[in-house]
């Protein structure tokens, strides 16, 4: 794999895009893998009893799936220094069917002294952003 070079990046440059798709089995698999068994992520009756229209994806599933595009692009997990997001809207997952979230990773800022880049993630579901201030700081030091 070719190492990403700091000097080749520009603010505003799109470094990766991906469409991620969740169905109910994705949520069940994530519940098991993460240990987060909150029934709002697999039980419609429960989700409706707490005021939702139905089952929604774990925010952490969206957060983890979104950053995978940056992990693939940078190619070395030790270069990922910091990752944060706010959860601005839920992702409703139909049954049957799939929810599609469009991910775009863009260079948000460059720090020449630290040799780091801030990659901003945009995650759009049903025409609206589901992650806010989703930022990944990556090290590009030689």
């Amino acid at each position: 794999m070719t190492q990403v070079q700091f000097d080749e990046l520009e603010v505003g440059q799109v470094v990766a895009t991906k469409t991620i798709s969740f169905d109910r089995s994705t949520l069940v698999r994530y519940a098991g893998a993460s240990g987060d068994f909150n029934p709002i992520h697999w039980n419609d009756t429960f989700a409706q009893s707490v005021g939702l229209d139905g089952v929604i994806a774990h925010g952490m599933l969206t957060m983890g799936s979104a950053v995978a595009v940056v992990e693939e692009w940078i190619g070395d997990q030790s270069r990922i220094l910091d990752y944060q997001t706010r959860f601005s809207r839920p992702v409703a997952v139909p049954n049957p069917g799939e929810a599609h979230v469009e991910i775009t990773a863009t260079v948000g800022a460059l720090d020449e002294q630290a040799q780091t880049a801030r990659i901003d993630l945009n995650a759009v579901f049903d025409g609206a952003r589901v992650l806010a201030k989703a930022q990944v700081v990556v090290s590009l030091a030689a």
Binding site: A33, D36, M60, Q77, I80, D82
Partner: protein
């Protein structure tokens, strides 16, 4: 205005270090698969060693497994009055010193950093300091900061 029921006395509280969480290769692969990761270094020891890692590497958000298990000390304490049926995840942050690898034995210290009340919502921020046990002591691995929004009664 409705008041949230969250117990404000818990601000500043620090919990005792957790028992070690043993990071397994299969758990890393299972988590990576669950988030749609295709990073070979999470699945193949050979690929991981090719990058100079001691073992397969965990995806960025893997630390949430360790953090959420540790936070349960606080969240599930009835005295804390965090009603989980009224909780929405507001934000999350991971700040790494180094990646998590299979074979790590991770211990966590949970801090309740702040509880802000506004308009019947309580914003509860916890911080998990996660370190690896080594022969020479604790090595910091990652800080996980998480905020839950807890709706008050009647909201």
């Amino acid at each position: 205005m409705t008041q949230s029921s969250v117990n404000l006395d818990f601000v500043g509280r620090e919990y005792p270090q957790t028992a070690p969480y043993q990071v397994g290769r299969e758990k890393i692969a299972e988590f990576a698969r669950a988030i749609g990761s295709t990073n070979p270094a999470s699945f193949s020891l050979e690929a991981a060693r090719g990058l100079g890692y001691p073992d397969v590497v965990a995806p960025t958000t893997f630390a949430v497994i360790v953090a959420q298990a540790a936070e349960a000390q606080y969240i599930s304490d009835p005295e804390a009055r965090v009603d989980f049926s009224r909780v929405v995840h507001a934000d999350e942050r991971f700040t790494y010193t180094r990646p998590i690898f299979a074979g790590d034995e991770l211990v966590t210290v949970v801090h309740v950093d702040k509880i802000l009340e506004r308009a019947g919502l309580a914003m509860v921020t916890t911080r998990c300091e996660i370190s690896a046990l080594t022969e020479i002591g604790l090595e910091h691995v990652v800080t996980v900061t998480s905020t839950l929004a807890v709706r008050g009664e009647g909201n």
